[in-house]
């Protein structure tokens, strides 16, 4: 039973979803970063409770933890790094092209009210 991890994963997941639902690019970006962290922790928890176990290296101890989830997370971390890097660049490019970092403004630009705009 890993109540602590379950709580951690749940709250992180919820918070990241909350961030993703906000409007600012930056918050959305942070939301996705946090989202991948939370799901990595979820995967980690599937290796079972670590209490009384040792690292999954032969010779390091009598009762090593399950190595597979760790390997999977390793892959998942790297992949989400790649995708997040792309997301960062995409957001930057959108910012360059549309001069906004607000998703709402991006798709539904506010009506310009000032008269002195060219």
């Amino acid at each position: 039973m890993q109540l602590d991890t379950a709580l951690l994963v749940g709250v992180l997941f919820g918070l990241s979803i909350y961030l993703i639902l906000l409007r600012s690019f930056v918050q959305i970006l942070f939301g996705f970063t946090l989202l991948s962290t939370s799901v990595n922790l979820f995967l980690l928890a599937t290796s079972g409770s670590p209490d009384g176990k040792t690292v999954p290296i032969i010779g390091a101890g009598p009762n090593p933890v399950d190595p597979l989830p760790q390997a999977l997370i390793l892959t998942a971390i790297v992949i989400s790094f790649g995708v997040t890097a792309y997301l960062v660049v995409l957001l930057y490019r959108i910012f360059l092209d549309h001069d906004t970092i607000d998703a709402q403004d991006l798709f539904h630009p506010p009506k310009k009210t000032d008269d002195n705009s060219p």
């Binding site: 918070l15 980690l44 933890v65 390793l74 790297v78």
Partner: protein
């Protein structure tokens, strides 16, 4: 191979092959040799005649080729009276039409004749395929093909808006009803456990009638017939299809396509005629349409529209006739069909010639053509007489037979069908009136302005086909006995009444004759009344179903725009909430079930749970930082919280005995933060400005929180459920056992990623490489040299060029 099969295949393949060749022999089509085109349908006609002759002594012959035998769909031909009769009509009238079309397009240098003949031949193939089809599915296939070919033909002059909309209307109506018919066919086939027609037709039908699909199949298949034969409420497409060149109208709407509905009724008659629905459905729809269309024909002024409505009316009659057949048996249906084919084709051709010669089709602008074209006038007179049922024409024979059948029904069913009789009689009166109008207004009276100015005499050749048909009408009208033998040999099992009487012009002074003559008198009376009032008639708005249809399409278009907007399809910010809410909704039931099953176990484990101080506090710290991430206002602060989370999560990995993971996590986290910094730090002061937004609606605030809360709960439940029970046989321990002896490494995590699951790693590093390539693509603009710019004057071809900027964007 069976010679019959070869003959039929040839009859299909010859026009099909020629159709494919047509676009490549435009020069031939414009040459004087193009008369020979009529030889194609003629050859088919002869082939079918030969088939008919060969099978004269057999009521039903089935030949075929396997096509998709796994699905029971084969290219099977069912040769019986019905298919032979229709085959002969299609090819026979076809021969005349090809001849007529050659004359019609004489000297026309703009019309793409190659395409025209290709469509026409294709249409003929489809027709032949349909009538000879011995398999329900192949019947449907050819049925749909006729729709496509007619679509191309109707829209042939596609520069005109009316052509396009007429073609669209025709295709949509026949397509929709065709698909509906497919459902009915499938129900029928599923009932019968076969898709082949012959066994279905020859089996005992009482076994099906209890099936739930029986009546449904009848209605659905009949809907198909209604669509094709333009029965109410689909009657409106046919007049709109008159945008086609006249040879097409003459072919499609006299003898072929619209007759398919009638053909289908005859085809399925043996299966369904015992159903009570059969009589009700066919008679009400058929005779109702007959009256409605006749009434509309009377109120139309475009020649083609009059003919179109009269066609609809006659089709209604024919369908109703098959409905009647369920109680009294079907006799002489072929006479009705042939009579209609002859006079309608003849009239269409005449109208086409007049249209060609005057450039006008409005009957009000025409008149006095008798002197200019007496032969044509004669043909028209005969055809109109046949339509009106004047003695001496085949139309008269047909009408008398109809009255006989009606009285027979009256005898059988009593007064309840008086209404039907009334409908038929009124429709006949109307028909006589507009028949008279067609002939009298075209050929009698004084020459109108239009005729005087625009008339140029038609060639002799173009008048030959209508004259042939007129001759046929007269011949058969006077000597109906000629048809006796052919009709007997075309007798169809299960369809035709065994007790057929011979045809004769004079049956004695019967009540039918009296009625018939009085109808003529009443029709003449109606004509004269209307003539006196000057024919100031229009189809009232409520009967303009075509306008409703177009309006409906328009409304539907705006409805789709609204519905698409309603579904938030163009609101990218709503996508993720919608997806999440749906996901949560779908997950609710399975999660509830799982919690019901595993809940006690989870609770029991929770009671035994002993928290680890360091881990629990790390959790707390991570959550504090995460709260900071959410609550802090400026992104630099949030980023710092994120970095802190990264470091603390690494510690958490350590607590889970994962050094490799910790190393990777912290390295990646740092690289990522640098990346975010590099780009986000370039966001100008606006990055701060964006944080000061106007207040949003409460729902906008509460909904994300609710979604976030339930997502978090969902994942927590996932994890609790995941860890509630260990799998019986987990491969995790396997890696620990075999990493050293087999993979020659003691770090199990590393041997997994390098050896056991090396393919994952290969994929993972490709993802990294591609991500960087993607980033390069985003940030580095690919520049073309000035030379390349000129080479592609309009920029890159295809979708590369136009941006959403110029588009109707949501």
């Amino acid at each position: 191979m069976d010679p019959l099969l070869i003959a039929l295949l040839l009859a299909l393949a010859l026009p099909l092959g020629c159709a494919l060749l047509m676009p490549f022999c435009v020069r031939f089509l414009r040459s004087s040799l193009s008369w020979t085109l009529s030889l194609i349908p003629l050859t088919c006609f002869l082939l079918i005649t030969w088939v008919a002759w060969k099978t004269a002594d057999q009521p039903q012959v089935v030949v075929g080729l396997p096509w998709v035998p796994s699905l029971g769909v084969n290219l099977t031909f069912l040769i019986d009276g019905l298919s032979l009769f229709f085959g002969l009509i299609v090819t026979g009238i076809g021969t005349l039409i090809f001849f007529y079309a050659r004359a019609y397009f004489q000297g026309d240098h703009e019309t793409p004749l190659g395409r025209f003949y290709a469509y026409l031949l294709l249409f003929m193939v489809a027709m032949l395929g349909t009538v000879f089809a011995g398999n329900l599915i192949s019947l449907f296939i050819f049925w749909e093909l006729t729709g496509i070919a007619s679509f191309l033909l109707i829209g042939f002059s596609h520069d005109k808006e009316s052509s396009r909309s007429g073609a669209r209307m025709a295709l949509l109506i026949t397509g929709l009803t065709g698909l509906i018919m497919l459902i009915g066919i499938i129900m029928l086939g599923l009932n019968a456990q076969t898709w082949d027609l012959a066994p279905i037709l020859n089996s005992d039908f009482s076994q099906y009638s209890n099936s739930p699909w029986f009546n449904a199949a009848l209605v659905l298949i009949f809907l198909g017939a209604m669509g094709k034969s333009a029965q109410f409420p689909f009657h409106f497409w046919l007049p709109n299809a008159m945008a086609a060149p006249t040879p097409v109208s003459a072919y499609l709407h006299s003898a072929t396509m619209v007759k398919l509905g009638v053909f289908l009724c005859a085809r399925i008659f043996p299966i369904f005629h015992d159903a009570t629905l059969w009589f009700t459905l066919l008679c009400s729809i058929g005779f109702g349409t007959m009256l409605l269309a006749a009434w509309m024909a009377l109120r139309s002024h475009d020649l083609k529209a009059i003919l179109a409505f009269s066609t609809v009316s006659q089709l209604g009659f024919l369908i109703g006739f098959y409905g009647l057949g369920s109680s009294v048996g079907v006799r002489f249906d072929f006479v009705h069909i042939m009579s209609h084919a002859c006079y309608k084709a003849c009239l269409f051709m005449i109208v086409g010639i007049i249209d060609h010669s005057c450039g006008v089709r409005d009957i009000r602008q025409l008149g006095g053509l008798w002197k200019k074209a007496p032969w044509l006038g004669g043909a028209c007179l005969i055809a109109c007489a046949s339509m009106a049922g004047i003695p001496g024409t085949i139309g008269f024979i047909s009408k008398e037979l109809m009255l006989i059948d009606l009285f027979a029904v009256l005898d059988k069913h009593g007064a309840s069908v008086w209404l039907l009789l009334l409908l038929v009689l009124i429709a006949s009166i109307l028909k006589i009136a507009f028949s008279a109008r067609i002939f009298l207004h075209l050929f009698r009276g004084s020459e109108t302005e239009t005729v005087r100015h625009h008339w140029h005499a038609p060639s002799a050749a173009i008048q030959v086909p209508p004259l042939i048909l007129a001759t046929l009408i007269l011949t058969l009208g006077f000597f109906p006995g000629l048809l006796d033998h052919p009709l007997r040999s075309l007798h169809v099992l299960g369809l035709h009444d065994e007790t057929g009487a011979d045809l004769a012009l004079w049956h004695g002074f019967t009540k039918e004759l009296v009625l018939s003559l009085s109808l003529v008198a009443l029709g003449a009376l109606l004509y004269s009344r209307l003539q006196a009032k000057g024919w100031k008639l229009e189809i009232p708005l409520w009967a303009r179903f075509d306008l409703f249809f177009e309006k409906g399409i328009h409304l539907f278009n705006s409805f789709t725009k609204k519905s698409t907007a309603l579904l938030s399809s163009d609101q990218p910010l709503h996508y993720i909430p919608i997806i999440l809410i749906t996901l949560l909704t779908f997950m609710a039931f399975p999660l509830a079930t799982a919690c019901h099953q595993w809940g006690p176990e989870i609770l029991a484990q929770t009671r035994l749970w002993q928290p680890d101080l360091l881990r629990s506090l790390t959790v707390l710290f991570i959550l504090i930082s995460a709260c900071g991430l959410v609550t802090l206002k400026r992104w630099p602060q949030q980023l710092l919280c994120l970095s802190a989370i990264g470091f603390l999560v690494t510690l958490y990995f350590i607590l889970y005995r994962a050094p490799d993971l910790a190393l990777t996590q912290i390295l990646i986290e740092s690289a990522l933060i640098l990346m975010i910094l590099l780009l986000l730090a370039r966001f100008p002061g606006q990055a701060y400005a964006a944080e000061h937004r106007p207040p949003t609606a409460p729902i906008r605030k509460v909904l994300p929180m609710l979604v976030a809360l339930s997502s978090g709960l969902m994942v927590t439940l996932f994890l609790l459920l995941a860890s509630v029970k260990n799998p019986d046989q987990s491969i995790g321990s396997l890696y620990l056992e075999q990493t050293l002896p087999l993979a020659k490494g003691s770090n199990a995590v590393n041997t997994i990623i390098i050896d056991f699951r090396s393919l994952d790693t290969l994929g993972e590093i490709s993802v990294l490489l591609i991500a960087v390539l993607a980033a390069i693509g985003l940030i580095m603009r690919y520049r073309r040299t000035p030379h390349e710019r000129t080479q592609a004057a309009h920029g890159p071809a295809g979708f590369g060029l136009p941006s959403f900027k110029n588009k109707e964007l949501p």
